[in-house]
């Protein structure tokens, strides 16, 4: 909500807004802008766009996604196609992931790093033949494109697919809903993508998402996205879901949000994203920040990203300090809120490595008030991704 309407200290529009979002400039509108408004969305500025933060209410939308299928408009995210000579080898200088070994049509979560191992962005990269389709965060996309263009060799080209919209359909009923509309998508395994047809025209669909549930992300031209959104929401199992529930869902799933839980001061090892650096890349190095990352893998990072179980009914939010038993500051909360699934507050943040063991009792300080917490395993709510061969 804009203006002095309600003296809210920490409103979602601010807490969700990535740090470099330029809210003072003119906001862009999504291809589905009027569609969202017609569905009763409350729109807020986010990542340079006017975006739906909620429709009927965050808790209802959150629980709907955990039980049925939620439709998210994530068209603010940057969709890039990177191509050219030896593009996998070229990308491996900026990203610590194994892209050369990535099979066709498979997705890999990776990180765009600066030379000191700081995280410039987190992203999903998919091999499409000789090319890579990369989805980056909305607030950081222009900076990312600049990084790629200046740091990749001249014979590697970055195309910004500006006209493509991106929808996510997430939840345990997502597969049956989408299969009815686009036959064959149910055959995709988790972190696999492929070309499909909707209404006689090409779309790109992957089995992936940001909620911890099974689900899909669908890249489709902005001119066609309303037809798809209408077709999906005509199914009674599907409701549109706003940014508010997107944030609470990903927090329960223990997934970091760039600009809050990840930034240029955090490394992949501090963030607990070691899975994104495989054995070959650890052995060979040769990526931005490798020296620091390999040292942190060897000796442990100075801080680690952890979850917190909060022993209170009051949510503890981003910015709260983490204190040890003697009152020394040992870390900071980077995301926090109320878990609709667990019906209690949860949080994540960074603590000094000696305090990062599961079960370590700590205190959080928010506005002069202390909260007892324990370091918690993440995810807070188990992932339910679709594993091929699983029941």
């Amino acid at each position: 909500m804009a203006g002095p309407l309600w003296r809210s200290r920490r409103f979602v529009a601010e807490s969700l807004m990535d740090q470099d979002s330029r809210s003072s400039e003119t906001l862009e509108t999504l291809p589905l802008d009027s569609w969202h408004r017609s569905k009763g969305a409350r729109m807020v500025p986010f990542a340079g766009y006017e975006m739906p933060v909620q429709y009927e209410g965050i808790i209802a939308e959150h629980l709907w996604t955990r039980e049925n299928a939620g439709l998210f408009d994530v068209s603010h995210m940057g969709q890039l196609l990177v191509h050219g000579r030896s593009v996998d080898t070229a990308l491996e200088r900026l990203l610590p992931g194994d892209l050369r070994g990535l099979p066709d049509m498979k997705l890999k979560y990776s990180l765009l790093l600066d030379d000191d191992a700081g995280i410039i962005d987190d992203l999903m990269a998919t091999r499409r033949g000789d090319d890579f389709y990369i989805v980056v965060n909305g607030a950081t996309k222009h900076g990312d494109i600049h990084e790629f263009e200046t740091r990749l060799p001249g014979d590697v080209v970055v195309d910004y697919m500006k006209e493509q919209a991106l929808l996510a359909l997430q939840g345990p009923r997502a597969a049956e809903v989408l299969e009815r509309l686009i036959p064959g998508v149910g055959e995709l395994g988790f972190m696999q993508g492929g070309p499909f047809q909707f209404s006689g025209r090409p779309t790109w669909i992957s089995r992936s998402g940001y909620t911890g549930e099974d689900g899909f992300e669908i890249s489709i031209p902005g001119t066609q996205v309303q037809e798809l959104a209408d077709a999906l929401t005509s199914d009674p199992l599907v409701k549109p879901i706003g940014l508010g529930a997107r944030d609470s869902l990903r927090l329960e799933a223990g997934l970091p949000l760039y600009g809050h839980d990840l930034d240029h001061r955090t490394t992949p090892v501090m963030a607990g994203l070691n899975f994104a650096i495989n054995k070959r890349r650890r052995g060979e190095g040769g990526f931005a920040g490798a020296m620091r990352i390999l040292a942190e893998l060897e000796n442990g990072p100075p801080q680690k990203r952890v979850g917190f179980d909060v022993d209170s009914r009051q949510p503890v939010r981003e910015g709260a300090l983490v204190l040890d038993g003697e009152g020394n500051e040992v870390g900071k909360v980077t995301s926090g809120g109320f878990s609709p699934t667990l019906q209690r507050p949860i949080a994540m943040g960074y603590v000094g490595t000696p305090f990062a063991d599961i079960g370590t009792p700590l205190k959080l300080e928010q506005r002069g008030k202390l909260f007892d917490v324990r370091v918690a395993a993440m995810p807070f709510v188990p992932h339910r991704y679709h594993r091929k061969g699983a029941a």
């Binding site: 409103f11 609470s248 949510p315």
Partner: protein, 123 residues
Amino acid sequence: MSLYFTKEHEWIRVEGDQATVGISNHAQEQLGDIVFAEVPEAGRQLSKGQEAAVVESVKAASDVYAPVSGEVTEGNQAVADDPALVNTDPEGAGWFFKLKLSDAGELSGLMDEAAYRDWLKTL
């Protein structure tokens, strides 16, 4: 009995020198799903404009301010136990606290209901 509102979206219902304070329907709509409420204890002295209670939704944390000065006579344990009551009945059972007015003259600076609803339309 008189009903007043503040520009911070509190309401205050006054009977003699006793007043009941809560947040308006508009405020609860803007906050969304309320998951936490903290109310003041009886006996606490509040001066006008002071932070008196806390209300938090999934997405936001806010203070409830004392619209006028006085001594708290009761905090509403029902909203502390079931914060969603503020969503379902903000201007009734979802009240936050009662207080004994120390200066009834402070009421003259507040909006009546019609003025408040008109003012909302200008936001």
